[in-house]
Amino acid sequence: MHRRTWMQSLVLAVVLAFGLSACAKSEPPKPPAPAPAPVAKPEPLKVGFIYVGPVADAGWTYAHDLGRKALEAKFGDKVKTTFIESVKEGPDAERVIRDLVAQGNKVIFATSFGFGDSMEKVAKDHPEVFFEHATGYKTAPNLRNYEGRFYEDSYLAGVMAGMMTKSNVIGFVGSFPIPEVLRNINAYTLGARSVNPKVKTKVVWISTWVDPPKEAEAAQSLINQGADVLLQNTDSTAVLQTAEKNGKYAFGWDSDMSAFAPKAHLGSCALNWGPYYIKAVTDVLEKTWKVENTKWGIKEGLTEFVKVPDFVPAAAKAKVEEAKAFLVANPGAVFRGPIKDNTGKEVLAAGVVGDDKFKGEMNFYVQGVDGKVPAGK
């Protein structure tokens, strides 16, 4: 799930008001291939994307746009993609989606949770168009969802953190205390304690998705309190850069951020949407599209733990590889019993793997995390 803060919404409103932005951009047409014979070429399948942020955000939207490019690379002139960036969640999204449909797009990908209601409305009016909603939950005969098991990446980062920490204190900069984020914190902690049971996780919440100065402050406060490996689910590179400044370690989030902190970067929890976009369009082209709730992770290659640097000792790399192999063999099995929360209460019995309900309603810290989940948004 991904939302804009009100500040960003305000900014976007202003940008729109000044008529400076949010114009549809199409990739320039490819030079026509020298056709051997004047055979009538089939019309390309038009595919539209709406993004919640700018494609240059080095994170969430950037990763989706890489997926769109992978789709183009795969199908060449059989598809024609269009994207609209920085679309505000809420009613305005509906107008943008209707516009994409009016332009003849037959598949629409909406890449943020808050586009759900708009997708549902437009899907009802256009049964001939296929609608795909990232991180959503609503379905219709022509509307389905896709999502990553992001917590698998957090688990691998945790394993790495558990191997690399010297202080046995690791830190997490959180946005909002919602189940998605708690899954990441808990997976990070479970991963770390799977290789180093002495690890404690400290969590700091900053109540925003993007505020680089605030992210830096939160990271600094964790470092000041002894944390030496940090993970975040906020959108910027500030946490990583703060770790670099302090000679500590951290991870990239959403995309490969290794360039921002050559000494601090222990790996990036990257998202690779390309395979899913290719699958979805293949489904449409081959008329095998059916309503599903796709959740892909390490096994399918949607979530990836990438760019582990050379300075990481072989033992740590081996542990991460081992965990990766485990998750490939047991998708989603990060949350497998016995798991206790940090008050000592058992939340998952031995041998049980947490189901969607367990993960979807997570509102506790696992053993090893300091503090209490704040009452939040």
Partner: protein
């Protein structure tokens, strides 16, 4: 003990951008002009400063570019409010909104770019003192510069003739006008100086503190700086102390969270504004205090010849 030293250090770093912007706005306001465009000026300066630092590789070029950009944005405000007699509050708000959108628009090419990091040297000799070294003497040069700027402004206001003229323009522009002072030009100069300091503040955020550019990154710090001038009852030293206080509250809140202490997040984020309201209530109970400090013509349009 070490953690306290680090908390103090983080407080100084967090308070500095607020102090720089707050001091700039103080200069405007002492000349009788309220510029609510701080947020927008800081955003424009943050992207300009970041771009300049990115392209030249020098953070000081970036700060200078930020100052120029802040002053340029302020000049639009000044021209509208001082020469076209638009309402200062409405014009400032418009500048804030415009700056947010404009900076996002021109900054798209700089999102996700990485600056070369220059190591922070601190003050040689003092930086290795126990406790005091890590607490006070390992900061970026702008942290110390902000303190020097505060001292310079205080000296200018209370020890120089030009400072007296500036304050008199804020108190009674009619009298200053009658004495032959060019009220609008003086106010314009104050607005430009304010914009330049807000600009340095924005550039510090994007070049040193974050360090990156992304739209919306000022995230309300301009408004806190505006609140600070009121909180400080328009005194330079109090602006600086207030900035450190707000910075300290922010950092303390994060430290407490890390220690597992429950603090309502929303309460902490409203604290700077709440404290401003409290101060306003307190000082309005003492008319003398207001009369002594608040520029009497603050926010009022001045028509020469009327």
């Amino acid at each position: 003990m070490n953690e306290i030293a680090l908390l103090i250090a983080a407080t100084l770093a967090a308070g500095t951008p607020l102090a720089l912007a707050g001091l700039g706005l103080l200069v405007n306001e002492r000349a009788g002009v309220v510029n609510l465009g701080a947020e927008g000026m800081m955003a424009i300066a943050a992207v300009t400063g970041f771009a300049a630092a990115f392209l030249t590789g020098s953070e000081w070029v970036g700060f200078a570019a930020g100052a120029v950009a802040g002053a340029a944005a302020a000049s639009i405000f000044g021209w509208l409010a001082l020469w076209l007699y638009t309402n200062q509050y409405a014009t400032g708000l418009a500048l804030s909104l415009f700056g947010a959108g404009f900076s996002a628009f021109v900054g798209t090419g700089f999102v996700g770019k990485n600056l070369e990091r220059t190591a922070v040297a601190g003050i040689p000799g003092l930086r290795d003192l126990p406790f005091l070294g890590p607490a006070l003497f390992r900061q970026h040069a702008l942290v110390y510069l902000a303190i020097a700027i505060m001292a310079a402004i205080a000296w200018f206001f209370y020890r120089t003739r030009a400072g007296l003229v500036l304050r008199s323009v804020g108190e009674s522009p009619e009298s200053a006008h009658a004495l032959g002072y060019p009220v609008r030009s003086i106010r314009m100069a104050a607005v430009l100086a304010g914009g330049a300091l807000c600009g340095v503040s924005g550039a510090y955020l994007s070049i040193v503190y974050a360090p990156m550019w992304v739209e919306g990154m000022i995230a309300g710090r301009g408004w806190i700086a505006l609140a600070l001038t009121v909180f400080a009852t328009w005194r330079p030293a109090r602006v600086l102390l207030g900035a450190y206080l707000f910075g300290g509250v922010t950092m303390l809140q994060l430290h407490l969270q890390g220690r597992g202490v429950q603090v309502p997040l929303q309460f902490m984020s409203m604290l700077p504004y709440l404290s401003t309201v409290v101060v306003l209530v307190l000082i309005s109970r003492d008319p003398l205090w207001i009369r002594l400090n608040m520029p009497a013509s603050l926010g009022k349009t001045f028509h020469p010849g009327s």
